[in-house]
Amino acid sequence: MAQSQGWVRRYLKAFCKGFFVAVPVAVTFLDRVACVARVEGSSMQPSLNPGGSQSSDVVLLNHWKVRNFEVQRGDIVSLVSPKNPEQKIIKRVIALEGDIVKTIGHKNRYVKVPRGHIWVEGDHHGHSFDSNSFGPVSLGLLHAHATHILWPPERWQKLESVLPPERLPVQSEEK
């Protein structure tokens, strides 16, 4: 009788200890270091989701790289949508603060990116809800840097930070 009670108590103690260690560590890791996410939509074709609705790419999102809000032109980043805070969008960084971009479909032909903001665009112009619709986004909305495609296995690759030459900023601020 005493033996079975002791077993239950030890089990409960081990469970609580595991729970209070494992859950915060796992949550902190997923929030601060890295997590994975499935990409939906066609706004980043052909880099992401080239197959359309048949197969969605799963990407590795690296939070650690953007902890100081440092991004480069050409990076693929995920950010909180400025129009809908419940949604995250994944786009490519085209211009940093101080650059002047030539827009596609924006109400102004040329836009200077204000301090603390970036200009993002999807690779599939015309099918992308990006800065050409909502203007420059604040760096505070930056969520993570997408570094690799993890799934499907035949699309396993590192995502390169390339800026298409026709989308280079008209003028960049020298740092």
Binding site: V23, V27, T28, D31, P85, P114, R115, G116, S138, L141
Partner: protein, 166 residues
């Protein structure tokens, strides 16, 4: 003796990581203590006051007009601002002071909020940088801890805003 010291170091590291992660989860999902600086929220919050902020409202999208929020500054993501929510998405906002002859107004876009400090004469807020995206809001301030003479829940706006649902 070296093995004992190494064991102790690893255990210390383990505890630090564990408590660090618990602290992150607490600040991120529940709330924490914040010290405010600056004159933009006087007289409701003075410089160097210590307040309690909760982050549950942000996650459940329960921020309302009249709430005092902490948000990331739109022009500098590494610093925080502390202002009152004057308008939510779709609200009509007067962008000129009422003493001007021509009143101009604008509507707060979807997914954005309009913030103003209580100290209107000395506050850089949405009247300067426009509405900010909801995603920049970090938490809601609802209780003052220090100074003890002002301990308690925070007052309504001294600028006479009536936040009825209209």
């Amino acid at each position: 003796m070296l093995r004992g010291a190494l064991g102790k170091t690893f255990r210390l590291l383990g505890y630090t990581i564990q408590y660090g992660c618990i602290a992150h989860c607490a600040f991120e999902y529940v709330g924490g203590v914040v010290m405010c600086s600056g004159p933009s929220m006087e007289p409701t919050i003075q410089n160097s006051d210590i307040v309690f902020a909760e982050n549950l409202s942000r996650h459940f999208y329960g921020i309302q007009r009249g709430d005092i929020v902490i948000a990331k500054s739109p022009n500098d993501p590494k610093s925080n601002i502390c202002k009152r929510v004057i308008g939510l998405e779709g609200d009509k906002i007067l962008t000129n002071s009422s003493s001007d002859f021509f009143k101009s107004h604008s509507y707060v876009p979807t997914g954005h909020v309009w913030l103003e400090g209580d100290n209107l004469k000395n506050s850089t807020d949405s009247r300067y940088y426009g509405p900010i995206p909801y995603g920049l809001i970090r938490g809601r301030i609802f209780f003052k801890i220090w100074p003890l003479s002002d301990f308690g829940f925070l007052r309504d706006s001294p600028n006479g805003y009536r936040f009825s649902d209209d």
